[in-house]
Amino acid sequence: MHTAATAAAPYGWSLGLHALLAAALLASGLLRPQAPAPQPVPPIAAAIVDQSILQAVAELRAAERRRAAAERGRQAAQRAAERAAAQAEARHEAQRKAVQAEARRKAELAAQQQVERQARLRAAEESRRSAAEARQRAEREAELQARLANEGQRTDAAASSLRTQYVAAIQAHVEQRWFRPPGLAAGTSCTVHVLQIPGGEVAGLRFGDCGGGEALRRSIESAVRNASPLPAPPEPALFEREVRLVFTPED
């Protein structure tokens, strides 16, 4: 706003000056002394005109002409003044209009600028906000991703823990039914692949690497067959048709 006021100041001065000029012009026209009104002239009746009369008539006519001229001059001046005044007025009006227009323009400009500024501000604000939002969104996204990942891990962990439970259940179930033959060499290990059907029933078994003798194999086969049905998994998805049992007797 301050900028607009400062810009309007010179126009104010110009306005005052023109007003003074117009006043002076008007005053000069109005203060001019008025000429005496002309006498009415009798019509010419005699053919013979006295020279003095002729003189008097001529003087009268001259006075009339001067008076008419003066009147014409006065009227002209008045018209000029009026014209000047009108012109001044027009100029003034134009000036005023121009000023107004300028002011309006300025105002409009200012308004425009204001609008633009606000728009820019809004835009800036908008972009700032959208940036913030984007950032927040990104953060949220990241957080979500992290949480998802976390949850994924938790799910994995949960699944893995359930799997561990399942493995432990099978282990306990088979161990309770395994009579470990005596005299196994340290480090003896025997792998058996057990095929189970849903429900845990042992459908078959096959030995993999087996470091023990026939008695160990027989003890393992007895344990596995006697362990049928194997325990159910804590979640059906964990069920495996084939289970690998690694018999590694510990002291």
């Binding site: 282990q171 161990e175 309770q176 039914r177 395994w178 009579f179 005299g183 008695a215 590694t248 007797p249």
Partner: protein, 434 residues
């Protein structure tokens, strides 16, 4: 049709044998929790007007149960009494939760001779995994029954049974002023006690010859200690060492040609010596001012383990038999480890140790140097391995009286052996007998 079935079988085999498409569920089995293998010993068939001369099944059942490694279905719970494998309904026995069934017949060959036919069925697979016939005269029916126990034990556990073996021990009877010492040989289950030698003077340290035909022992019946070798069948007794001072702790070399002994000779320095029986040649093995005694051979005859107090308290040392070898200490846990006996596989040493202020039987792992206490008495002594290494016999106290006990080398099964009378001590488990 046959071809189709074969294809189906092949496919089924593929299903079982095909490697898993994804991560297989792997389960580690670390401990056998089952206490004992469930078995059924069906009374043997007998076709005779008179009662059967021997209850073979009862002997086998008692043997297997005494080992602690088998749980036999009580006779009253037997639903069927098959006498041959073909009659065994494996599925029915599985319903009774029996993994193995022993069936058989006792047949009379002539007035004095019998035959024991027996079979072992694995009910889990329906497989007949053992089928044998044993001849026996009437007096050997019990021994033959123990042999069936041995074979069943071995077939199921992978370790030879030691039911048809014997034990030797010293029984002390009578008041302090009039004591009698008897050297006794009995069946591994404590039955059939037979006095081999008796004396009013102390009898000590019986040791089985590797062939199971003779015992070496220390007797004071000549007034001073001497070492004798006595053949069991004939009762013939030979004095093999009566040197001045101590003659003690005989130990047969694995080939039976030599005895490791403890001698003090004239200088009174107690050391280990090696006596060649055929030539009476004597060779000094240790020479240390401390007491070296109680030698025991490693099964491969390459080393002797013995007790020495050269480091202060008694500890066990190993001495290689080769020339120039020096004794190396092998026991380090506790202040007292003595009277070593080497396990049949040579991997372990049974010793008497002090455990929480009590004398107890411990086993030392010779590779790892670890030691585990197996017995829980207060005055346990004289451990001796069964020839299969599955258990140890030792002397302990029961109400102040010396009795014999066995413990499985995994520490799980403990048994007391009833003795007829008096106090018994220094048991020695025989090798496998012919």
């Amino acid at each position: 049709m046959e071809r189709i079935r074969r294809v189906v079988v092949a496919l089924a085999a593929l299903v079982v044998v095909a490697p898993p498409a994804h991560a297989e569920l792997t389960v580690q089995i670390l401990r056998g929790m089952a206490e004992a293998v469930p078995v059924a010993i069906v009374p043997f068939g007998w076709e005779g007007s008179e009662p059967a001369p021997w209850d073979v099944a009862a002997t086998v059942q008692a043997d297997l149960e005494r080992s602690g490694r088998f749980r036999a279905l009580p006779r009253a719970d037997l639903l069927e009494l098959p006498h041959e494998a073909g009659q065994v309904d494996a599925a029915a026995w599985r319903l009774l939760q029996v993994d193995y069934v022993v069936v058989g017949r006792l047949l009379r060959v002539d007035s004095a001779r019998y035959e024991l036919r027996y079979e072992l069925v694995h009910t889990v697979t329906g497989e007949r995994i053992l089928g044998l016939a044993l001849p026996a005269d009437r007096a050997a029916l019990k021994l033959a029954s123990h042999r069936i126990s041995d074979a069943v034990y071995e077939r199921i556990l992978g370790v030879r049974g030691a039911f048809a073996t014997r034990i030797a021990y010293v029984a002390v009877d009578g008041p302090a002023a009039a004591r009698s010492f008897r050297l006794i040989v009995a069946d591994a289950d404590g039955a059939n006690e037979r006095v081999v030698f008796s004396s009013p003077e102390p009898v000590m340290s019986p040791a089985w010859s590797p062939d199971g035909r003779a015992l070496a022992y220390v007797s004071f019946h000549g007034g001073t200690p001497a070492i004798y070798v006595q053949t069991l069948r004939t009762g013939e007794q030979i004095r093999v060492s009566a040197r001045s001072g101590i003659n003690g702790a005989p130990a047969w070399s694995p080939d039976g040609s030599q005895l490791a002994l403890t001698l003090s000779r004239r200088d009174g320095n107690v050391d280990i010596w090696l006596l060649t029986l055929a030539t009476q040649e004597l060779r000094r093995l240790t020479d240390d001012p401390a007491i070296d005694t109680e030698p025991a051979w490693s099964p491969n005859a390459q080393a002797l383990y013995f007790t020495s107090d050269r480091a202060g308290g008694p500890q066990v040392y190993r001495l290689g038999i080769g020339a120039g070898e020096r004794p190396r200490r092998v026991t380090f846990e506790g202040r007292y480890n003595a009277r070593p006996r080497v396990s049949p596989d040579g991997r372990e040493l049974a010793v008497v140790t002090i455990d929480r202020d009590a004398f107890r039987i411990a086993v030392v792992d010779l590779q790892r140097g670890t030691q585990r206490v197996l017995s829980n008495g207060r005055l346990d002594e004289s451990p001796s391995y069964a020839p299969n290494g599955a258990s140890l016999i030792y002397a302990t106290r029961d109400g102040g009286r010396g009795v014999l006990a066995t413990v499985s080398t995994d520490g799980r099964v403990q048994q007391r052996l009833a003795a007829s009378a008096g106090a018994v001590r220094e048991p020695a488990w025989s090798p496998y007998l012919p």
